[in-house]
C-alpha cells in the first residue's frame, strides 16, 4: 500500500496532524518517541502501535497489529511543497519472511 496526499498546510502543522493518531481511526493515543506505544480504535477493532523511528517534521514509522489483523509496518514521510506539504504513506506486511519461505518450498 502506497499513497501520497498533498495537504495545504506547512510541514510543521502537517506533522502535528500526523503524530495525533486520531486520523488513523476513530480515536487513539501515541507516545511519539522511538519505542513509544499507543493504540487506535476503529469501530470495534483496536490496533496496538509501537513507534520505530521519529524524525521531527520529516518521518514517522511504526508497527501496528490487532487481534484480527496481522502486524504491518507503516511509514510516513513529509516533504514541503510550494502549496503546502506532501505526505507519503506506505504500509507493508511484517510476515514477508514467512511468505518468502512458502514461495521457495
Amino acid at each position: 500500500m502506497y499513497r501520497e496526499v498533498d495537504v495545504p498546510c506547512d510541514v510543521e502543522a502537517a506533522w502535528q496532524h500526523v503524530i495525533d493518531p486520531s486520523w488513523l481511526g476513530d480515536d487513539g493515543e501515541l507516545d511519539v518517541v522511538p519505542g513509544g506505544e499507543g493504540w487506535v480504535s476503529e469501530g470495534d477493532e483496536t490496533k496496538y502501535l509501537v513507534v520505530e523511528e521519529v524524525d521531527d517534521e520529516r518521518h514517522l514509522s511504526f508497527r501496528w497489529a490487532s487481534f484480527v489483523d496481522a502486524p504491518s509496518r507503516v511509514e510516513i514521510d513529509l516533504e514541503p511543497t510550494l502549496e503546502g506539504t506532501r505526505i507519503a504513506i506506505s504500509e507493508s506486511p511484517l510476515e514477508a519472511r514467512a511468505m518468502a519461505s512458502l514461495v521457495a518450498r
Binding site: V5, A98, V103
Partner: protein, 113 residues
C-alpha cells in the same frame, strides 16, 4: 489457524504460477499438468510443483478423471485475499480523508518563502 491469505499472495507472487492460474481460469473443463507444460517453457515436473503450491493455497483443486489428473480453479479461491485488500484500501481512504480534513482546518502559515 491456516493463514490462507498469505498462502494466496505467495502462490500468486510467482509469474509462472500466475500464468498457470490464468490458464486454468480460462478453462472451465480444467487442464492436466501435461497440457499446461505443452504451452509453457518449463518442464512438466516444474508445472506439477507449481500446481501443488496453488493447490495448498486453495486456489486450485486436483480431480482424478479416469487415468488423468485435471486441475481446476476453486470458486472464490481469491475472495479472502481480495476482500483483505479491499478492506485495507478502504481503511486508508478513510484515514487519508480525515488527515486532509484536519490539515485544511489549519490555515497555512504566512511569510514562508
Amino acid at each position: 489457524m491456516k493463514d490462507t491469505i498469505s498462502d494466496v499472495f505467495a502462490a500468486l507472487a510467482d509469474t509462472t504460477r500466475r500464468g498457470i492460474y490464468e490458464q486454468l481460469l480460462d478453462n472451465t473443463n480444467g487442464k492436466t499438468a501435461t497440457a499446461l507444460a505443452g504451452d509453457a517453457t518449463v518442464s512438466r515436473q516444474a508445472i506439477v510443483k507449481h500446481l501443488q503450491v496453488l493447490a495448498r493455497s486453495g486456489l486450485v483443486v486436483a480431480r482424478r478423471e479416469g487415468r488423468e489428473v485435471r486441475y481446476f480453479v476453486t470458486p472464490n479461491g481469491t475472495s479472502g485475499a481480495s476482500s483483505w485488500l479491499l478492506k485495507r484500501a478502504e481503511a486508508w481512504e478513510r484515514r487519508i480523508a480525515k488527515l486532509e480534513d484536519q490539515s485544511r482546518a489549519t490555515p497555512r502559515r504566512r511569510g514562508i518563502p
